[in-house]
Symmetry: C2
Amino acid sequence: MRDVFHDELDDIGDGVAEMIQLVAAAMQGGTSALLDADLLLAQKVIDADTRVDALRVDLEDRAFQMIARQQPVATDLRVLVTTLHLVADLERMGDLALHVAKIARLRFPDMAVPEEARDVILQMGEVARSLVQKVGEVVEGRDISLAQAIEAEDDSMDALRRKLFTLVLSPRWSHGTEAAIDMTLLGRYYERYADHAVAVARRMIFIVTGQRPVAPTNGLTAPLG
Amino acid sequence: MRDVFHDELDDIGDGVAEMIQLVAAAMQGGTSALLDADLLLAQKVIDADTRVDALRVDLEDRAFQMIARQQPVATDLRVLVTTLHLVADLERMGDLALHVAKIARLRFPDMAVPEEARDVILQMGEVARSLVQKVGEVVEGRDISLAQAIEAEDDSMDALRRKLFTLVLSPRWSHGTEAAIDMTLLGRYYERYADHAVAVARRMIFIVTGQRPVAPTNGLTAPLG
């Protein structure tokens, strides 16, 4: 009985790992579609999100059923409840990558991103990639020190977003209001993607330590995502 | 034993009701602060969010402890697991109201919202108020028909957001890029606030019926928030 339970838990873990891979690929694809004005790739990212949504529904159901049938306690219960939250964060990360791809599709055949904003968006895509890769490593190996490095990378995403605002508000911005709106939304999507990555990392700290991490900014106990 | 359990469940329900009231008041306050350039009110909304965050942490812990200690089954378990999700949505709604208040504070003593956008923002605030009021009624009375009306109101929020874009992109827009960015972010905050209200309503349908609602747009089973 005990072994079946942990086999099922491992299966759920595999599903979470698949979701992480999918939302990582989605944001990389979304960023490439954006910077290359690649309509086919944008559409591929948009279509692929149904798989992420389906995985969330499936994993949420399985975690719920395991709690209901097996009545786990202590760490096992904490893992399952945390899984319910993780899959919600991951599904949302998929949505945000989809939103990025939709901006690429909306502006095709034009480039959504003006030349002088390319570098910032490229860096945001790179930070997103690095963040979600670390999240994957945290979830697989439960390395808390990596979870803390993720908070630092989230700060660099915030700095990039401010850089993007500075560009758009500069008197040299010559791309009008529509492009300004696109950059505002893109900045928001990347920032929220990073926030959800941090939330996943915090959840993992909670699983390993049983302690809620303290939010670095104000010393208050952080809501877990 | 059974009675103590349901007393505790009622206490959690009271906490959820308090969170709903707080995030309703926050968005009403945020909207007023925005439209009246009221710095004191904006600051009040920003400060009040710590109570929402604390309630979330407290309710999440209590729901988790009840699952761990009492090992509830069937509907009771579904209510508790749903509570974990509800409080996450409500905390996020509080954050979004705080973001609205922060734009009011950032632009003070100026008005963040140009004259021709006032009416749309006013209406978005009104739809937000009506939505969250219905959410409160659904949670208290578990009226599924109301949960479905909430989906329709979410559509009107989306329409208002499109109207705001149309205004900002009109050749008559004379308020520059900074105000365009503010309107873009405000539109996003109200839209996401409404999305989370819909997510809460969907969760309540799930509690009452045990069935995941079908997303109206594509016929797919909806992820629950």
